[in-house]
């Protein structure tokens, strides 16, 4: 008992040195921009005081990652036995997303407790036209289930925590048909990821608002519009990040970045 107590005390002394270099618990709280909650602060204090807490919190992080990986498995069985379209539909409903078949107006969604009807199995040969995966944990591995839907026209990924540049770079398979893409509020999308969207030549509407990791939203808005000239880009305002009025005039007088005319649609 005394030895354990002494061990705790040594731990506390050592931890006191490292207090100054402790950062946010990135393993537990991926959104580091928000202030830490009371729970994460308490866990941080526990971790700083006792050595034994670290593996427990590691397990927590590993379990979360395992859950994401499980959600993004390849539905090989469904693909082999029921065809690509039904496998894709089943995958979307399992993730609690929604979709609409080509040629139909009805949306297939899952209910509040993750239950859904199996009516989509009546249409094995119809391709999916619109997919709504907002808030789902889809990542670049999960796209394996959806690459067969080459007639996809609209994809909504609002607030998806695992969508990053690797995901966006795989969207080139939809370059012939994708017309609307919404990646707003995705915390992992960076500016480098947006440069992967250059393949989507048919894109007409792109929503890139509230991207936490994009440092200069106004400038990125301009550059994205330049990259996709026929697309309406919704995001930040051009004046976002510009400095005060007298310096704004100096910026306006120098030659701008635009080399092509930007066509916006109403």
């Amino acid at each position: 008992m005394e030895k354990w107590h002494a061990g705790l005390m040594t731990c506390r002394r050592q931890m006191l040195w490292s207090v100054t270099i402790r950062r946010n618990m990135s393993a537990a709280a991926p959104a580091s921009s928000s202030s830490p909650t009371a729970t994460s602060r308490f866990l941080l204090w526990l971790d700083q005081t006792f050595h034994d807490v670290e593996p427990l919190l590691n397990w927590n992080a590993t379990l979360r990652k395992r859950l994401v990986r499980k959600k993004n498995l390849f539905y090989g069985y469904a693909q082999r036995n029921y065809g690509e379209n039904i496998a894709a539909a089943y995958y979307i409903l399992n993730l609690k997303g929604a979709f609409r078949f080509a040629g139909q107006t009805e949306w297939f969604r899952s209910g509040p407790r993750g239950r859904f009807s199996y009516d989509f199995m009546n249409y094995p040969a119809t391709k999916i036209e619109e997919i709504d995966l907002s808030g789902t944990p889809i990542n670049h591995n999960g796209l394996d289930n959806l690459v067969s839907q080459v007639h996809l026209r609209k994809l909504t990924l609002r607030g998806c925590p695992e969508v990053d540049g690797w995901f966006l770079s795989r969207l080139h398979v939809f370059s012939e048909t994708l017309e609307e893409l919404d990646i707003s509020h995705c915390p992992k999308v960076t500016t480098g990821a947006l440069s992967a969207l250059t393949h989507l030549r048919m894109l007409r509407r792109l929503d890139i608002s509230e991207l936490g990791r994009v440092q200069n939203p106004g400038l990125v808005q301009i550059l994205t519009e330049e990259m996709l000239p026929h697309c309406l880009v919704i995001g930040a305002d051009y004046s976002h990040g510009l400095v005060s009025d007298d310096t704004t005039q100096q910026i306006e007088s120098t030659p701008g970045h635009k080399t092509q005319p930007v066509a916006t649609e109403s």
Partner: protein, 508 residues
Amino acid sequence: MYSCQRLASRLHGFHAAAVPLRTVCPQPRHFSPRICQISTGVASRSDLAKELELQLKAMREKAASALPGSDWTPFEIRNDLPPKRVDILIVGGGVVGWSIAYWLKRKSGPRKALRILVVERDPTYSQASTVLSAGGIRQQFSLKENIELSLASLDFLRNINEHLGVFNEEPVDLQFNHSGYLFLASEKGAHIMEANYETQRYAGAKVKLMSPAQLKDMFPWINTDGVALASYGLENEGWFDPWTLLSALKRKALSMGVEQCLGEVRGFNYGVQSVENRELGQIQLRRITHTNIQMPNSLEVVPVESTLVVNAAGANSGKVAQMVGIGLGSQTAISGISIPVEPRKRYIYVVHSPDGPGLDTPFLVDYSGVYLRREGLGGNYITGLSPEESEEPDITNLDVDHDFFQDKIWPQLAHRIPALESLKVTSAWAGFYDYNTFDQNGLLGIHPLVRNMYFACGFSGHGLQQSPAVGRAVAELVLDGGYKTLDLSALDIKRILHDERLLERNIV
């Protein structure tokens, strides 16, 4: 008065035991001269008591710290020396060296714990190829092994936080830009590009071939004059920050228990065994026992005993190999064939142009060899060119030759991208390629003459992009005895002895 002086000197004499009582020692700081003029007043007696108390307390503390159980020693503890004996010693602390260290630790685990030491001579990495590179990663090679190495490294980078995430530290942000590589080919090189395209698609790279018309449609700012075919990477290509990868590998390896030593490898102690071979006669087989490391800013040379030595010294791998005698024998013997890795200086220029191509700029590589990529969002680009064999610049320093830009790079750039005709060179730097003069591909494996030295060098400009997969391959060689995930036996170092060149046609 005399008694108090004696008391003062006796107390002072505890610190320096040889001082006799009668000598006049310099008054200690907290003793005022007044104390020696003793009087019968109460005030001075209580002062004396207080001083006495303080002195006794100091004596007790000094005695306690000198006793065993405290951390005072008469010997100075030096933290910079390497351990006397390690299991694996890695020469070179660049991205390849740390990648090997990380994978060795990861594969060996806590039960079969290995003692690994990474020796690096420059903590600022001022001349290291890793941090001076342009940071690109691509799959558009002509050799299947290179494509596979690059794909495996990309898989590592995709899940980098799962591999290199340290608990309670910031997640690793590589700042990966997902623009592809765009290779342009003239009439002469179009058939090579088509053959490479077959190999790349077969190995799993996602590449698209484009005609000049399609190229103009996709990138209107390119002048397609002279271009017969273009090859564009659709996914898994781009560039990232090499410092971040190096720091992440280092941080994770150190957290797993790898040790680091700052010092320069000066030589090896090795045992020699003479063996009779029917065709080659007597050969001297060497086994390294100790590595002699010179400490920084010092003449001290420390020997470190190790079972295995891994040569990941980059551009200096040839020199390190010479310390074991590879390359120093006679011309006809095997020991006369040196490791064909030497440093080659390459320049990178940062240019600025406000009218240049925007966010969709790929990593453009022209058939003349000039390459260009975007840097940041402010209209800055990075450009460079590998010079001809006959015009290789001097490698004694890392000075930049700006005439090279004016004469060789700018005309080609202006021809290919007319918007860049008016540009300004804002900055430039130079770095070394660890150039494999034999066939410009990596050298892996054990040299037949040195029984316990593994090589991982000669990547000729691709070391950074292949480093995670190379680290895993060398760890498999060391721990499992052979390749388990990727079969890289084609890149074995013995090919330099058999004179079998494995040429890579797409060197940038």
